[in-house]
């Protein structure tokens, strides 16, 4: 077997093991929370009889490990079960919301990744001079702003002062692509502001690191233009660290944007998860947790593989 294929297979197997461990952790975590789903559903108006009835009908009286394996078996056969709180099919609900999450993440990524890399290259090219300082200063201040502050600022500016966009970014089935783009414009702007700096700084640092090498000096002495030296000679050798930070940010765009979702009322997976955590709806929490973990682990495997493939020394081991 080709060493790369072997490596990839190893990574995937490890990832699956990790997922299993994560599912157990999520289960234990929700078990440890105070109160149970029956209590959470009935809230302040719970009577002991109503609680007992609800527990009985939800199957909460069975031991925890039975419920865990029941659920795991369901997942393996593609059945996420139904939400305890409203009886809706989890697979269906998640499917739509996952689509919304990925749509938002994709929009933000399409803008932020090329922009961050481009800005990183420019900053490296003008290292220490004013373009570098401006780019670093602006992006660092946007990343330092808490997301909700950035969100409120954007809402104020683009819906009140300049009424261009709508503050509530809900998307519905049946909306056209263009309408969807318009709806998510504000959250996309906020997310771009938030993830830009990290990727930009890493690109800049990786390029500057490579620029210290002797072969770069050779390229410069050949008389190549500085931008060409960076693009053709430095960038290919800096891909691995850049990809790993890009992927980390992509993962963040999928799993970590619940605050932005809430502020803009965007109906995606994070909001769905938070609602169900509050109600102790274990099957939903576990399903969403597992999906988030899978996205995170999957993207990290991808980063590893790209890192290996882009590095000739790893690609052709002696």
């Amino acid at each position: 077997m080709h060493p790369i294929l072997k490596l990839v297979a190893q990574r995937i197997a490890l990832g699956l093991l990790l997922l299993l461990a994560v599912s157990l952790l999520i289960f234990l975590g929700t078990e440890a929370l105070p109160g149970d789903v029956a209590q959470a559903i009935l809230g302040q108006s719970a009577t002991p009889e109503a609680l007992a009835n609800l527990r009985e009908s939800l199957g909460l009286n069975r031991p925890a490990y039975v419920r865990y394996f029941d659920w795991l078996g369901g997942i393996l056969t593609g059945d996420f079960g139904v939400a305890l709180t409203n009886g809706q099919d989890i697979g269906q609900a998640i499917g739509q919301r996952l689509g919304n999450t990925l749509f938002l993440a994709a929009c933000a990524a399409v803008i932020s990744v090329p922009l961050a890399i481009l800005l990183g290259l420019i900053a490296a090219r003008y290292n220490g001079r004013w373009p570098d300082k401006v780019i670093s200063g602006v992006t660092l201040s946007t990343i330092s702003l808490p997301e909700f502050v950035a969100a409120y600022f954007v809402i104020f500016l683009l819906t009140q002062v300049f009424p261009i966009f709508q503050p509530v970014a809900m998307v519905f089935p049946g909306m056209g692509f263009w309408e969807r783009l318009q709806a998510v414009a504000l959250p996309v702007i906020v997310l771009v502001l938030v993830v830009l700096a990290h990727m930009m700084r890493m690109t800049r640092a990786a390029i500057l690191n490579v620029m210290q090498s002797a072969y770069i000096e050779t390229a410069e002495l050949k008389g190549l233009s500085p931008m060409r030296v960076i693009w053709q000679h430095a960038f290919p050798n800096a891909i691995a660290p850049i990809v790993s930070v890009v992927v980390l940010n992509l993962a963040y765009l999928v799993v970590g944007v619940v605050v932005v979702e809430v502020v803009f009322g965007y109906n995606a997976l994070g909001q769905y998860l938070v609602d169900h955590v509050a109600k102790r709806d274990l099957p939903v929490v576990q399903a969403v947790g597992l999906i988030f973990a899978a996205v995170y682990i999957g993207l990290n495997i991808l980063a590893d593989v790209i890192g290996i493939v882009s590095n000739p020394r790893l690609r052709h081991p002696k």
Binding site: P34, N53, T159
Partner: protein, 529 residues
């Protein structure tokens, strides 16, 4: 012109009251028939409902865990959803009277143990079927089943027998209850075809709008029910509820015109929002109240002097001003205010009195160790700040309070009804009997102050079956006094419903029964522009 007349005029202009009735009532207020007719004509021109358009509400209080089963509604959005697609036997109107809906006539026997509801002919469900007395009985029966987990279980479990004969529903009660019609207005008791037994979450009712999209925690879309029986409602072609739990986003959506009305305006921004052109703040005193509850059966709160010392040591006006931004009124340590029928206005208002509190505290013989008051951000809006204000006003009376902030998560299961002294809230009930029966009767499940008083219980049961309003009022007054002076309830304030709407919304009438015109704002308002 006085407000009573204005109210009549608005109702008449919207066709909610006949001209004859309007003129009659106006003359009782000293206004001539000719004058009344002229005013009515101009009011009708100005107020006439406009048909069509899409009316949208942006609301806090919806979750992706919500269901369309009316029995399970517990937060604001499901409440509004029920009131938009559902129809009950009766509504309670803004004046606290019964409005007939699916029932068109109600009668009771002398001791209020047997009630007859005559079902209106020709009311149609969204699926085309006609509402029958059998549907009504099946609906009520479903709510009495513990398995349905209905929020109205406490209301219907006193019904010992229900019968449907022709167009008449007869309910027999285990013991007399003069308030039964009011209880039938509960928002869980939406009449469903066949009682909704087969599919409780089908969303088929007889209300003004049909459900066309149900995306819990996101939005709810409805279209007009073409054969709705009441032509004075359902003006917009389509209505929508967008769930926007974030305060800032909800307000921004209103300002940007994405929605026409919002609930739960944050008291902190009312003044700012008032200055925005095209937006009006609507507020109405409701029955909801914020409370601190002491368990009367646990030390040190088993001491009446200590309880009363704490009641005197809270600065109610300061609470109303700072926690409610002035949009509320002072509480008087019993859960009833003027928004209830048969309220006794003459009961003296308890005020902050540090000296008297200090005296009672000394008399209680408390050892001076800090009294722990538990609170949480979600106990009620501003609960942590309110507890801190309480701590300071109590400290001035020499009573040491220690505020313990608990997490919202698990507050209602681990702290409320468990710990002897904590912050909480009540949403209020349509009638006094229901409020007292829910939380102050010795045997009540939710007796969260562990208040047990034989005289109080006796009065409660007697008043329930009393059809003479004067006698009943006197009994409620005595009960209020007992609770105020003996109970474990510290009720510093009643909160207003504070909402905001855009100027193009017509037909808004303040309603103390619930948020957004008792959940009917989408069904009763219209778009003028």
């Amino acid at each position: 012109m006085n407000s009573e007349f204005d109210y009549l005029l608005k109702r008449a202009a919207r066709g909610m009251m006949s001209r004859r009735e309007f003129v009659g009532r106006a003359s009782a207020l000293g206004i001539s028939a000719a004058m009344a007719n002229t005013l009515l004509a101009s009011a009708a021109r100005a107020e006439g409902p406009v048909k069509g358009g899409v009316l949208r509400a942006g609301m806090a209080g919806g979750e992706s865990t919500n269901s369309l089963d009316p029995a399970l509604a517990a937060s604001e959005v499901p409440f509004m959803v029920n009131m938009t697609w559902g129809e009950m036997l009766v509504d309670v109107n803004a004046k606290g009277e019964i409005d007939y809906r699916i029932a068109e006539e109600i009668s009771a026997n002398a001791d209020a143990t047997e009630w007859k509801f005559k079902i209106r002919a020709g009311v149609e469900f969204h699926d085309g079927k006609t509402v029958t007395a059998e549907d009504v009985v099946a609906t009520l029966r479903r709510h009495t089943d513990e398995k349905s987990q209905s929020g109205a279980l406490g209301i219907v479990q006193g019904i010992s027998d229900m019968k449907a004969e022709g167009d008449m529903v007869t309910l027999t009660l285990a013991s007399g209850n003069a308030d039964l019609p009011f209880l039938m207005a509960d928002y869980h008791l939406v009449i469903q075809p066949g009682g909704g037994v087969d599919n409780p979450a089908a969303g088929i009712g007889a209300g003004p709008y049909k459900v066309t999209a149900f995306e819990p925690g996101v939005r709810h879309v409805f279209e007009r029910h073409a054969n709705y029986f009441d032509s004075t409602m359902a003006h917009a072609d389509q209505v929508e509820i967008l769930v926007i739990n974030d305060n800032t986003a909800r307000t921004a959506a209103l300002q940007a015109g994405q929605v026409h009305m919002i609930n739960r305006v944050d008291p902190k921004i009312i003044e700012l929002l008032k200055g925005v052109p095209g937006i009006t703040i609507e507020h109405v005193a409701g029955r909801g109240h914020y409370v601190f509850i002491m368990h009367c059966d646990k030390a040190p709160f088993d001491n009446k002097d200590l309880r009363n010392a704490l009641k005197l040591a809270i600065n109610r006006q300061e609470m109303v001003d700072k926690i409610l931004g002035g949009y509320g009124s002072k509480g008087n340590d019993f859960p009833i205010n003027a928004a209830y029928p048969l309220f006794d206005e003459t009961i003296p208002q308890r005020e902050y009195d540090a000296a008297a509190a200090a005296e009672l505290y000394k008399a209680s013989g408390h050892d001076g160790s800090p009294i722990i008051l538990r609170t949480a951000p979600g106990a009620f809006p501003g609960a942590v700040e309110a507890a801190q204000l309480f701590q300071q006003s109590a400290a001035a009376a020499g009573i040491p309070l220690e505020v313990k902030v608990e997490p919202d998560d698990g507050y209602w299961s681990n702290v409320w009804n468990v710990e002897p002294f904590c912050a909480s809230y009540w949403g209020g009930r349509p009638v006094q009997d229901q409020m007292y029966s829910t939380a102050y009767l010795s045997s009540a499940d939710w007796n969260d102050t562990k208040f047990k008083n034989a005289r109080f219980d006796e009065l409660l049961v007697t008043a329930r079956a009393e059809l003479d309003a004067t006698k009943r009022k006197a009994m409620y007054s005595e009960m209020a006094n007992i609770l105020r002076d003996e109970g474990g309830l510290i009720c510093p304030m009643f909160n207003d419903f504070v909402e905001a709407k855009r100027e193009e919304v017509g037909g808004w009438l303040p309603d103390p029964n619930g948020e957004l015109m008792n959940g009917r704002a989408l069904a009763k308002c219209w778009l003028t522009a």
